[in-house]
Point group: C2
Chain length 402, copies 2
Amino acid sequence: MWSTDSPFGPHNLPYGVFRHGGRPPRIGVRIGDSVLDLDGAEAADLILAGGALRRPVLNEFLALGRPQWTAVRHRIAELVTREEHRAEIEPLLVPLAEVELLLPFAVGDYVDFYSSEHHAMNVGRIFRPERPALPPNWKHLPIGYHGRAGTVVVSGTPVVRPSGQRSTPEGPVFGPSIRLDIEAEVGFVVGVPSNHGEPVPPSRFAEHVFGVVLVNDWSARDIQAWEYQPLGPFLGKSFATSVSPWVVPLEALAGAWVPAPHQDPPVLDYLRDDPHVGLDLRLAVDWNGTRISEPPFASMYWTPAQQLAHLTVNGASLRTGDLFASGTVSGPEKRQTGSLLELTLGGAEPVRLAGGAERTFLEDGDTITISATAPGLGGTVVDLGEVTGTVKPAVTIASLSV
Amino acid sequence: MWSTDSPFGPHNLPYGVFRHGGRPPRIGVRIGDSVLDLDGAEAADLILAGGALRRPVLNEFLALGRPQWTAVRHRIAELVTREEHRAEIEPLLVPLAEVELLLPFAVGDYVDFYSSEHHAMNVGRIFRPERPALPPNWKHLPIGYHGRAGTVVVSGTPVVRPSGQRSTPEGPVFGPSIRLDIEAEVGFVVGVPSNHGEPVPPSRFAEHVFGVVLVNDWSARDIQAWEYQPLGPFLGKSFATSVSPWVVPLEALAGAWVPAPHQDPPVLDYLRDDPHVGLDLRLAVDWNGTRISEPPFASMYWTPAQQLAHLTVNGASLRTGDLFASGTVSGPEKRQTGSLLELTLGGAEPVRLAGGAERTFLEDGDTITISATAPGLGGTVVDLGEVTGTVKPAVTIASLSV
């Protein structure tokens, strides 16, 4: 049976959806280097979830709510830690190496925030050098916007280099992006919906949010810079957003809450969270295998509970499967930034990868992997897995049958 | 049987979803002042659509594609025009007055464009008086952004006044919006999905787009003005977007295509549509029953086929149920503008409603109805129905159980 020595031990138990042996997608939970087939476990009456674990996506389970989430989690922990269950669960274990991991939930709306002060300062200096780096509203509200839910893909999905318009001194030209970038983020997965017209205060965060994924919000900086005024990012972001395959439940992160940065000026009442806490998730970004950055999620200015409260304060409803991401995670140091734009100072300073290759933005064939761990209770470590993606060459329109 | 004398005659045949007599939602088609129960018609083998009409939303039918859309449309037209079918369809007709109309399709992603030059000029002058009214990218690409799909609601749904932050000389304050506005738009409903990574050129518009709805993209101008830099509109729009209940198929609008405004400078190749045509939809906006504006959709600078091509040129995929809206429709005259912001010159010039009431922005209890007609073939008129909504007072957070 498993112990908490493994960062995917019974204190973690993230949920995902897998395919194995040519069968339809099934819900599973990761334990060590295995996947426990929860579809099979519910079919065998080892777990009772009203059939919600016998679906091809997590959504029905996500909608059950915290009491049920907790009950199922406790039951799974029993199954994987008590010797008396060994014979029952052994037939339900599949080696991780044999499965294909799928997008774990059908995404409702995807919202992306902009909640790292260091990132906002860095980007402001690069994109809007003529104005103060931090916009006047930045410390009063967690700035966010809606992204494209239909192009959220699971880790491992190739990312085709997008084409689009970029500005040149001779006017806009069309072609493959030449400033393809990443954004290392943390995403929060909504389980319990809310009523249209009713704000969700920060105190209700844990009632609605099920868990956490890692996010790479791929960004074409040249397309974005030309298009984003006045209505925000669109095609520069909408081609792909990758998420990690394992949704780590909030319960697994109980030991990772830490005081969030002091907020000055004080926030308006609807944004006050008590305790004012963030998550000590330690991200790492690898570029073709070279570790280039270690962004600290604990440094985020706006907390996830504040983001949720802001997102709904106008009465916007939540649906099961909604995903809201933190925005790029960047710490105060250059080697803590979550985008290549920042790491290379807008492309001015290349980074050197193992083997001597130099890079500013992504080249075809490059692979980016974002991983993270968090402190667990009792000195354990919780692994959030990884989100990875490899860049494929742009599709030329001529190559399509028009 | 029905004739084309009615604007909801057999040349129109819009699809919707209705509830009647306490039964679950069913798909229907509007004919005159009746709804033909298509669930019942498919159950009785009067129409063959592989079961797609026996669902609670249109999505499965929308995914079938144009040959099937056309076949079903022809069959419905036969059923409602040929005397020999009278006895078969009479039991399937429900008076429109007896049904509740529901959101006709599950919305995938919702994209909102900004494609009226008159609107962009008007808004630019009001929101960004210090800069040129039209942003430098405006004539090179159809500017757009993603809105919140989860708060797209069907006509008739009350609109709760949103609360949020607005800027004052003393700093941001929180409260109900005091500049609640409308945006009269036309929305396009995607039926056939596209492959991730493969752009959809303008020539394929009619392969993917099923039909048209009317859209009111309710907007809180005070919230929007404070939040929208640098990442675009968010809470100022996400509280509600209303759509008309009847999706008018493109076939019904075959007589409404007209040359679109000349584009100068010439657009990049991927945006060239041939023929370069828009739709002659004649919108009307009524405020508490007073006609305040008649926005001409034919005046839009960017065409729907160009919007679709732009939206996908970066490889972003389409899903069945995606909705993309035109942006506010405003013609060159003041009484042709599609927002109150424009009609009242930013709130400076009130409009007078029947009975003498004066208004700048919306007050609680106000009702806005947007309707439209289009020329049909052979001198007929095609009615697009209406999208209506009444403003309810803001929810105070204290009134919620926190």
